[in-house]
Symmetry: C2
Subunit: 500 residues, 2 copies
């Protein structure tokens, strides 16, 4: 395929590697992997066990797992430990976008730790070989949880903090990990704030059409016309594709190369759909730099753009530009560089982190979501378990186990759990893949009206809707209660045996 | 070392491979690996995933896992499923010695399944190579639990039993697995009867002197003189060893070969101590064939023998004969054939099952128990974490992780759990390594006065003490309640999402 640099007028300018991201992070390398001076964290490394589940696979091999820590607010040896269960990206990105945890630590005198997930950021167990087979095989949810359990246990000893209750925090997949920590290691963590954690949909529970239906609902929420414009634009694009009018497609979308196959058109559709996904997920009421560089209220901006003139294809191109070319730096759109199709139809991002996420979506995390142009406004793009299996066995030599996450992490059979907050924003397409109903006084669902993807974890902002301020207040109260109860338990010491 | 066949007079006669067993089974091959006609079980095999925790280690390799099943008592499609979480031995041995489960199934209309633990009996993932390195690496508690979870899930589907509550049962290490199943997979199992499950001591919690202290207490319970005779006999043996009077040792103990080194004497002490361990554990009020062929009330028989004449060494030899030569068939005692020292100071048994258990004691199960001749009546035989590490890295190329079991399976931090019965008999030296106090109305400790190792799991016997009859009644009631509650939950169906 020739890569002619078509002029790419209306897109304005800045970062080349802007992200075709998913529900998880991208390779945000150009955005903020440099520690911020505003944050009090020290970057450290923990000597972590390579394989918690096989004593003979790696001897007792270890790797260096990165974590960020601050005791700036800690009531030393007494205050709780707030532990962020890092997800699929550079840990600094989560620290930089979870200001609420810092605010809460200041309030409650907590030590704060952000732990990086193995195989992401700088926590690569085998360095450059981490994504080779079989080295990649140690990338599992179970290993990540065991990492966190062990890290918490050892850091508590090191910091003389054995009596300090631990609360875990996480957003998105990180929120799933927080839930799982409380399910599987309640001896280690007293409670979990799981923000926007789609624990049901990623376990294959629910409706595969839900995700893109809810992305659509966000744009429809602006206006039915907005949704219809998007649908109309995709229909026009389909017509061009059906007619093999590829030069016009290139011209209309400012592509760097002329598309020449149905696969190229499929790629373009994927890239475009992904722009809407990101605007919906990240529909914050102020400008953000998380996963992408986005204006305030991107869905509104997107709808304004979609309805800015009679040429629907131009509108669609410009709407995609909000995500892929926010700074206007790109002279043209490189279909295969800006978006990489993978086992996650909501996107895997770019760079090494995207490899890790692709692997996880190929093994435990089940993301067989579809758009179909009936329950959503996008072109029909199906992703079945069979397609997933074909792709994953070719790409990684693995066979996904669709039922495993539900079996191992309880699916919706959560009634025996306790001390978990499931917070979700109603703008977030991930929300309905999570827990929306409280199950007991200590399994609390919080719904944030007008909230996007884990808005509550972000630092306070004047533009915040009242709902998120209210949510954070409730979270703060519940966490304070859990800390109090756990402190009593920890103080009791041994209750079942006597070290005679 | 020459192996002269010394005459071994007072020992009477039968099975050559009688067992130097531990808290778990031996290679009971000569006892009862043939399915009993009295039991209604069918022997089947389940296609099990080899490695639940690494998608790249074995592809999606599988192995054949054996299980026994009977629907003789099942209210088809409605009655509960009683699932025995097999431990370290041939699954038939547990089925043959857990008559209570059958009785309860008849009472409550249950389907009964006895599942064999991977790497034991006929469930060898790699056949004859199973105990090679690295093949043995897939022998972990976590893999075993995942096996059971998956097996339950799939058999429920196959048997059209999705609405049938599952209760797990286990004795000793099998009881630990039952507890862990309820901790880690409460979505799969509604409750656990954990009989004589030393979940604390095997996690390194408590006193390493407890075990042999409590073996001693059993013999002291007969009489202080009995205990003193044992101690006196070991003292005389030590004198002979100190004087290197090895021929006399051989003659006194009817050994097949003359001992010639301190190591041989250490081996003899280990073998003798183990006889007392087995009599204490298996101090049932009637003749049994579990782990060893023993008379009714073996502790009493042992004490009678220890005090049967003025020659303490002869008494000690004859007492050991109760365990090692109950049938009198052995012409002499082969020190290294009747007892194999391993990473479990209470014994690993003989044969392939003993290899598997040695590996488990070298990795997750922490059995650093000591005798010291102060808090117990035995020769000082220390087994430190350092010794364990040396042995295990030499033998299996592994480094034990002493803290892991406590971290992963909660140690004594059990307050968030529910629906577990911890039953223990006060004659059982394992009892004080388990949970002896109820923690809540659904975490119930049952103490069985006059009960040995998981007596309650055995079928009813006229010689049963009233305490065990009472215990079984309480167990039956609790289990019936759990089943009722779980049935309601299962009937509710999906509560958190709509498959629209």
């Amino acid at each position: 395929m020739s890569r002619t640099a078509a002029v790419f007028a209306p897109f304005l300018l800045l970062c080349l590697a802007v992200h075709a991201l998913p529900f998880h992070s991208l390779n945000k390398s150009t955005l903020h992997h440099v520690p911020s001076k505003d944050l009090p964290f020290t970057e450290k490394y923990f000597t972590q066990i390579l394989d918690h589940f096989n004593f003979n696979s790696m001897g007792n091999g270890t790797f260096r797992q990165r974590y960020l820590i601050t005791d700036k607010y800690w009531k030393t040896g007494y205050g709780p430990i707030f532990f962020y269960t890092g997800n699929e990206g550079d840990i600094w990105d989560f620290a930089l976008n979870s200001g609420f945890i810092i605010e809460l630590a200041a309030q409650q005198g907590a030590l704060v730790i952000f732990a990086e997930h193995r195989y992401y950021g700088k926590s690569l167990p085998f360095g450059e070989d981490s994504f080779h087979i079989p080295e990649v095989g140690l990338l599992t949810v179970e290993q990540a949880l065991a990492d966190y359990a062990l890290m918490i246990q050892e850091l508590k000893q090191e910091l003389v903090a054995l009596l300090c209750p631990v609360i875990v925090f996480g957003g998105s997949y990180g929120g799933m990990l927080s839930v799982y920590m409380r399910l599987k290691y309640p001896n280690v963590v007293a409670g979990a704030l799981a923000a926007s954690a789609p624990i049901l949909s990623t376990a294959g529970l629910g409706d595969p059409r839900q995700f893109f239906r809810d992305v659509t609902a966000d744009f429809q929420g602006c206006s039915a016309e907005c949704r219809d414009s998007v649908r109309g634009a995709f229909a026009q694009l389909k017509e061009l594709a059906d007619n093999k009018d590829y030069s016009l497609v290139q011209q209309k979308f400012g592509l760097c190369a002329t598309p020449s196959t149905p696969q190229d058109m499929h790629q373009l559709n994927g890239l475009l759909r992904n722009a809407f996904t990101l605007m919906a997920m990240l529909d914050y009421p102020y400008k953000t730099q998380f996963m992408s560089q986005l204006p305030a209220n991107p869905v509104q901006v997107g709808c304004d753009t979609m309805m800015s003139g009679p040429d629907l294809l131009a509108n669609l191109r410009n709407t995609a530009g909000i995500v892929y070319n926010s700074t206007g730096e790109l002279a043209c759109l490189d279909l295969y560089k800006l978006f990489v199709e993978c086992a996650d139809p909501t996107g895997c991002g770019l760079g090494p982190n995207s490899l890790a996420w692709d692997y996880q979506a190929c093994t435990e995390i089940d993301l067989c979501f579809e758009s179909n142009n009936v329950t959503d406004m996008f072109p029909p793009m199906i992703f079945t378990e069979n397609q997933r299996q074909d792709y994953c066995s070719r790409r990684w030599g693995v066979i996904p186990r669709p039922g495993w996450l539900q079996l191992n992490f309880w699916g919706e059979a959560l009634s025996t759990a306790s001390n978990i907050i499931f917070s979700n924003g109603d703008l977030d397409p991930w929300a309905n893949g999570g827990v929306r109903k409280s199950l007991s006084p200590s399994l609390v669902a919080i719904n944030i009206a007008g909230g996007a993807h884990h808005l509550d974890l972000r630092g306070s902002n004047v533009a915040d809707p009242g709902s998120v301020t209210q949510a954070r207040k409730m979270e703060s109260q519940l966490i304070a209660e859990w800390v109090k109860t756990e402190r009593r338990r920890l103080k009791q010491g041994h209750t079942l045996y006597n070290k005679s």
